[in-house]
Symmetry: C2
Subunit: 317 residues, 2 copies
C-alpha cells in the first residue's frame, strides 16, 4: 500500500469525486471545524461486490458456489434436471440469472452448509487460493480496486472505522478482508446462514445449517448496521440498488455526510454495466436510471471508474 501521508489517494484522478472525499475528511477531522466528528463516531461502511472488488461476469461467491455444486454433483444426481443446479452444471449464466436472487440463495444454501465453520473456512481459503478469474486469470483476491483500497486506508489513517456491509456471505469474505483491505473480521458484516452449537468428541463446533439467517442487502443493510454497530455511519459507499437504503440511512443523520456510488463504465480496464441497459441480468450490480436520479437529487457522489480512477488494479502498475 502506498504511503498516503504526502499525497493521498494516488490512484484517483484530481476530479470532483476525489476532491469531495478530501474535503469531507478534512472537515470532520479538523478540531475547530463546526463539522468536526469525534473519532468514535467516524464510521464508514462499504459494500463489497462491485464496490471493493470485481463482481463480473458473476459474483465471486457465486463462482465459488458453482464450483462447489459441481464438486458435490455426483452425490446429487437429481441436480442434472433441477434448476438452479442444472444451470450451474451447464455453466448457463443466463438460466442462472433467470432464477434471480431466489435461485442464488438455493445454490448458496446447498453449497455452503453441512460442515463446521472451521471446515468451511478451510474450503473457502483453499478455493480463494486456487480459483482464477476467467478474464483476468488472477486470483479473485487480486481483483480488488486499488483506489478503494487506498480510500479504506486513508479513512483509517484519519481514525475512521471502515466496515464492510455486503450481501455476500460473511464467512466467504472474512478469510480475505484483512489481507486485501486491511479490514479485520469483526468489521465485516454480511449475509449469514444459521449455525448450531454442538459438542463433538468433547470439542465444541458450530455447524452450518441449510437455512438463511440474515440477508444483508437493500433494507437489510441499515438493519444490519443498527444491529452490528449501533451507530449511524457518516460515510457510505456502494454501487447498486442493493446499497440504496444504506446510503439513505447514512444520509439521514445530522452533520456532515459522504455518500458515494461507483459507476462501472470502463470495459477496457474492467466492465461497463453501470446502467440498466448495460446488463441483461438485474441481479448483478444493477445501477438503473432511478438510482442515478436519486443520487442527483440527494447529492450522492457518482464516481466513474473510467474518469475518476487512473488505476483500477494494483497489478496494472
Amino acid at each position: 500500500m502506498n504511503d498516503q501521508s504526502t499525497r493521498p489517494l494516488p490512484s484517483w484522478n484530481d476530479s470532483e469525486a476525489k476532491q469531495s472525499i478530501l474535503t469531507f475528511v478534512e472537515k470532520v477531522t479538523t478540531t475547530d471545524s463546526p463539522d468536526f466528528v469525534p473519532p468514535a463516531e467516524r464510521i464508514a461502511t462499504f459494500d463489497n461486490d462491485g464496490t471493493l472488488w470485481v463482481e463480473q461476469p458473476t459474483y465471486t461467491q457465486l463462482a465459488f458456489a458453482m464450483d462447489r455444486i459441481k464438486a458435490l454433483a455426483p452425490q446429487h444426481p437429481e441436480w442434472k434436471t433441477t434448476q438452479p443446479f442444472k444451470a450451474v452444471l451447464d455453466d448457463d449464466l443466463e438460466a442462472l440469472a433467470a432464477g434471480g436472487k431466489k435461485g442464488l440463495i438455493e445454490l448458496i444454501v446447498a453449497s455452503h452448509a453441512g460442515m463446521s465453520t472451521a471446515e468451511f473456512e478451510e474450503i473457502v481459503t483453499d478455493w480463494q487460493d486456487e480459483a482464477r478469474h476467467p478474464r483476468f486469470e488472477r486470483r479473485y483476491t487480486e481483483l480488488v480496486y486499488q483506489p478503494m483500497v487506498e480510500l479504506l486506508a486513508f479513512l483509517r489513517a484519519n481514525e475512521f472505522k471502515t466496515y464492510i456491509f455486503s450481501g455476500g456471505g460473511v464467512e466467504f469474505m472474512r478469510p480475505m478482508t484483512e489481507a486485501a483491505y486491511g479490514v479485520p473480521p469483526e468489521e465485516v458484516v454480511g449475509s449469514t446462514i444459521e449455525t448450531r452449537y454442538e459438542v463433538r468428541d468433547g470439542e465444541p463446533v458450530l455447524m452450518r445449517l441449510p437455512e438463511i439467517d440474515f440477508i444483508d442487502d437493500e433494507a437489510g443493510k441499515p438493519i444490519g448496521i443498527h444491529k452490528f454497530i449501533g451507530r449511524r455511519p457518516i460515510a457510505a459507499f456502494g454501487n447498486s440498488t442493493g446499497d440504496r437504503e444504506m446510503l439513505e440511512w447514512t444520509g439521514a443523520g445530522s452533520g456532515p455526510r459522504l455518500m458515494m456510488l461507483l459507476f462501472h463504465d470502463d470495459d477496457e480496464r474492467e466492465y461497463a454495466y453501470g446502467s440498466a441497459k448495460g446488463l441483461a441480468d438485474p441481479m448483478l450490480g444493477a445501477f438503473p436510471p432511478s438510482l442515478m436520479e436519486t443520487a442527483e437529487e440527494k447529492d450522492w457522489i457518482v464516481a466513474s471508474m473510467k474518469d475518476d480512477w487512473n488505476q483500477v488494479f494494483a497489478f496494472e502498475s
Copy 2:
C-alpha cells in the same frame, strides 16, 4: 477510574483470582513469550447481568419491562387477567418466575416493540436516568461492579478488545455501556428483536417489531461471537449457566486462555445466590452445582465476590 499503571485491579484482593488474571495478561502481552498473542487477537467477552452489574432481585431489563407494562396497561385491560402480565401488575415476582424465560420474552416483546429504534433509545435513557434499584436506592447504572470495571479497563490498556455478550437486549444496554464500562456500542452484543426499515415523511426509520430475532444466551453466545466477531475470544467472563457455552467455546481454542465465573456469595454487600440452593428461581443467574463441577474440571477460575473483592461498588468508597 483508577490509574492502574502502577497498581492494577485495586478492588481485587491479592488472591488466586487476581493473580490468574495478572499472569494471563502478562504472558499474552510479552513479545518473546511462547504464549504471546498479537493485539488483534486479544478478544475478551463479558456477560453483563450478574457479571458486570447487579441482576437481583430481577434483571434490570425486567424491571424496565415491568415499568413499561404498567405504563401501557390502561390500553390493555386484558392484561389484568392474563399471565405473565397479571404477575407484573401485581408485582408478583414468584408468579413471574413460574413463567420462566418464555414469559420473560412475552413481556419483552410486548413492552419493547412498536416504536422506532430512536424512540426506544429515548425511552430507555429516560428510564435509566429515573429508575432506582429497590434495595440500593441508586440508578441501576451505578450498580456496576467496580472490580469488573477495573478489569475491563486493565484489559483494554493491554490492547484487548472487550466485548459484552449478554442475553439482555442490545438496545437496552447500548445507551449505558460506554459511560459505565467504557465499551462502545459496536462492542456490545445482545438479544435482538426484528426491525423493519421504513421511510416516514421522507425520513428513514427502523421500526421495532414484536418478534424475536436472536437470543444471545447459552449456545447463542458462541453463535453470536462467531457471527459478530468472527474470531474466538481468548478470555471470557460470566456468572451463570447462560455463560457455559461461551466459556467452553473460548476454552476450546489453542494457546493461552482465561475463563472466569463470578460467584455471588456476598449478601452483605450484594447478594448471595451463587448456588442452586441460593435462589428458588432458576431463571435468574443460576449457578448450579453442575456448573461448579465443570469449572473445576476445566480449570475455570471461580471468583468469589466475598473473598476476592475488597470493594463491590464505586459508591462504597
